[in-house]
Amino acid sequence: MTSNQLENFRIPIGPQHPALKEPGHFEFAVDGETVTDASVRLGYVHRGIEKGTEGRNYVQSMYLLERVCGICSHVHATAFALGVERLAKVEAPPRAQAIRVLVGELERIHSHMLWLGVAAHEAGFDLLFMYSWRDRETVMNLLENITGNRVNYSANLLGGVKCDITDQHEQEIRTGIDFLEERTAYYLDVVSNDAMFLRRTRGIGVMSPEAAEQLGVVGPTARASGVARDVRVDAPYAAYVDHPVNIVTETAGDLEARFKVRIKELFESYRLIRAILDNMPEGDLTTRMPRRVKPGETISRVEAPRGELFYYIKSNGTDTADRVKVRTPTLPNMGSVLALAVGHQFADMPMLLAGIDPCFSCNDRMVSINAPGGDTQQWTWEQLRQYGIEYYR
């Protein structure tokens, strides 16, 4: 076979594949073991959520948008609530802003620990996967105690939050954080010093600061390449104004750096949570919010665990948004995987992909139900709602 023919050998990965935790379709062109080209096709979990907001009022839309992602649901509701509040010229009370950030940081801990497990699994280090997921239960329990839910916490309301932090919560959070801090020190030691693990991460998928800038990557992926980009620092929102974040960066730009940035960010989250608990403002949890929002448009950016989450919201004077645009952090980061893949060994692809902490359901935003017998049915919102009511009756 000539090298030209070899170059045209294309290996599809996905949409269903053991190395992918969520559906996405990648196509890699390979020359022997070396990747020469890569492309992606998303949308396997596209639900038309942006369109969905056009037919729902602001309150309903917030519940829908919170379901863009099952891991970082709280940041979506926070970005939307902050944006709509700005359009309505309403400001949530300080206690609500502090609780938003507190839940947001607990969510970041949960997300980073989940990622650590997945990435360790991709590297073939299943013990680390089991350790990190076992320890992650600590923060899941805390979130459940505060909000009543393990995922889709629904802590936000337009104009505030719906859950308070009691003295008992505070004690539980402090105990949980102390335990996790100890465990995190162990993780940092493992990813920095374990010789076998380093062979999968050190010098793999190197992205220079220039490349990171050019590819427009965000979040820990950018910070691991020395690009100090963090919305919590660049444009502080909610209680981050009173509790400045120390940005964590690494310079190596490889997979090892991406591990270190995320794990070091956990320590920063623990510090922030303690600072917020030490200085929790007194007062109301909510403020009055008008149902109709005057015409206007705003951009709301928050730092999700995976990077900058961007919301564009346009109101038209009614109780329904004219347009809600969501750009999740995985989309720009996904482009970096395609660019970085070229020149790497094919066997590094799952790790390279895991390195950006991809979230496909965030990316893909029709309700299609495959009924037994193979008929695809389309349900209206009303039918689905009725089904939900009857299911729980």
Binding site: S39, R41, L42, G43, H46, G48, E50, K51, E54, R86, E213, Q214, L215, G216, D234, A235, K294, P295, G296, E297, T298, I299, R301, E308, F310, Y312, K314, S315, N316, G317, T318, D322, R323, K325, R327, L331, P332, M334, G335, S336, A339, N363, D364, R365, Q378
Partner: protein, 164 residues
Amino acid sequence: MSTSTPEQVTTPTSELNPNLQTAADLVTNHAAETTTPEPNRLDAVIDAAALVDVVQALVDARWGYLSTITGVDLGVEADQLEMLYHFCEGADILTLRVRVPRCGGVVPSVCGAIPSASMYERELIEMFGITVTDTPNAERLFLPEDWPDGVYPLLKDFSMDQLS
């Protein structure tokens, strides 16, 4: 569906912060109009023909990064789509607003200056039915393979009947 234009406040250029002032200087030659809807934002209305030059100027000056491209349907009556190119630098956001007709709208690709814009352009093409000239990949990104041609879900007059 309402097509009202958002409330906009024009701030004198002397009140812009230094960061946004730099952005304003970069786009001023091509912008038909600039407004400051919020203190950290600058909006510039740009003609589609000038888009590539403006984007190249921002990239050359290393002003911010392209955060995303938002498509907005201004409604059947207005018969226009608006493409918003959001550039972020710290807390500041520069938005280039490009208006095109609702049917047969054409914008040039900015991938020459910003290769990572490809994903955003693919999304615009499949959701709004515009043509992006010279974009490296015009294939579908999110919509299913069996989605009918010529049906664009983020247009205001989209209805589920178009799918059957």
